[in-house]
Symmetry: C2
Subunit: 265 residues, 2 copies
Amino acid sequence: MMLLYGKVVAENIQQEIQQKVQNGFDKKLCTIGFEQAEWLQYVTSLQKTCQKHGICCENIVAEDGILPQEFFRLVEDTCKRQDVQGVMVQQPLPKQYKDAVNFVDVNKDVDCLNPLSVAKLYLGESGRLPATPKAVLQLLDYYKIDVAGKNVVVVGRGRAVGKPLALMLLARNATVTICHTKTQNIAQICKNADIIVSACGVAGLITQDFVTEKSIVVDVGLSFVDGKTCGDVDKSVYEVACAVSPVPGGVGPITRMALLQNLLK
Amino acid sequence: MMLLYGKVVAENIQQEIQQKVQNGFDKKLCTIGFEQAEWLQYVTSLQKTCQKHGICCENIVAEDGILPQEFFRLVEDTCKRQDVQGVMVQQPLPKQYKDAVNFVDVNKDVDCLNPLSVAKLYLGESGRLPATPKAVLQLLDYYKIDVAGKNVVVVGRGRAVGKPLALMLLARNATVTICHTKTQNIAQICKNADIIVSACGVAGLITQDFVTEKSIVVDVGLSFVDGKTCGDVDKSVYEVACAVSPVPGGVGPITRMALLQNLLK
């Protein structure tokens, strides 16, 4: 069994980023959201990554109780700033502010959440790609795993990973099956696949009976069990499958680099 | 073997449309395109359908050699007209005019080609749905074929049918596999499915070895062989499968009604 680690892939992208920044990058990434613990934690960790690469990351915190229209204006105005290259809006947003993504300028939409970015992705037109599914493809590319003509099962149909990844794999000529909570005989469907990508956030979902000795498994799940970071792929899979990209240590480290790539694009 | 005809489904929708029009509908559908034979043929046939239902359909023909910017303005201005409820732009358009779909007001976009309509479809948000895949779901609904939890294979990944249909089936909790020209062992994949929808335009593509006696097959292919309208499904399939929606006579008649539904929405 081969382990598909992401660190070496991330390092390659990191070098590319450092070169670009060295050649001069005086613009910044702006994050816009509320004073909400999970979001602030994410922003802090993102700021650290940016700092490490000599990129300025400014966090704009909206006042509690701001009117939706004012929040949208804040997003719009931030996108107009000449010193800002990329804008990220908190995800998920409280319901009444949800439409803020419509106000992110498509040219500064590093997260690919604006409907125009989404439509480009759907139509397979060139443009930015969302960071996590992009990281999955970068991992597969690094390990020279060609998806064209392969049967690829994507487990999960979320907006952040499953759905965009399915379209991106399709654009690369994979035969794609999308499984989810309502899927029956999911183990059998996965067993018939050449490649399984799981993005559910359900620890231990993918067990030994989902795989054969030919299966390539990419774990993109993320959950916390007893304070430990867990993927979707059960330990028993590692004994059977041909190759596994683990959590932690697989796609995760690449994701942050893919986001910076989007910023510098 | 049961034949899933579309005429009766179309008639039901037709009644619904007639009721709406009777209650007063003084707006019109506008088509915008060039003097190009295939498009004009389509428009003429559409105008007949509209006329039959008491709906006015105005065809706007752009001058040859019109500047793209002028063409876009024409689309934009037509959408602003108070007497216009729906706008359809010629498909496919010559390359330099392709972006015209971006100028179709999303509220008048009966064809769902504007990127905002596309993004809504992708995100599973409520809104208009493109006519042909919508007609497929209406056919399945009429015959009480529930797709939730079923394995559905969509053969074809085109912008008009395959891709939107896959997303619409996914939103209805089907487990969806998308096959295409680069798919290997396509017969076996189809054989494992509960429902097969083929939208390729390749006569006779789906043969007996793609199906079992449990297969439900919906033919959405359209091609012309020796002047005859042909679907993707070979005659031999009719001897084996559980149910087949034929071409002609299946989804076709429903599609036009689905478009009028979009206009009246």
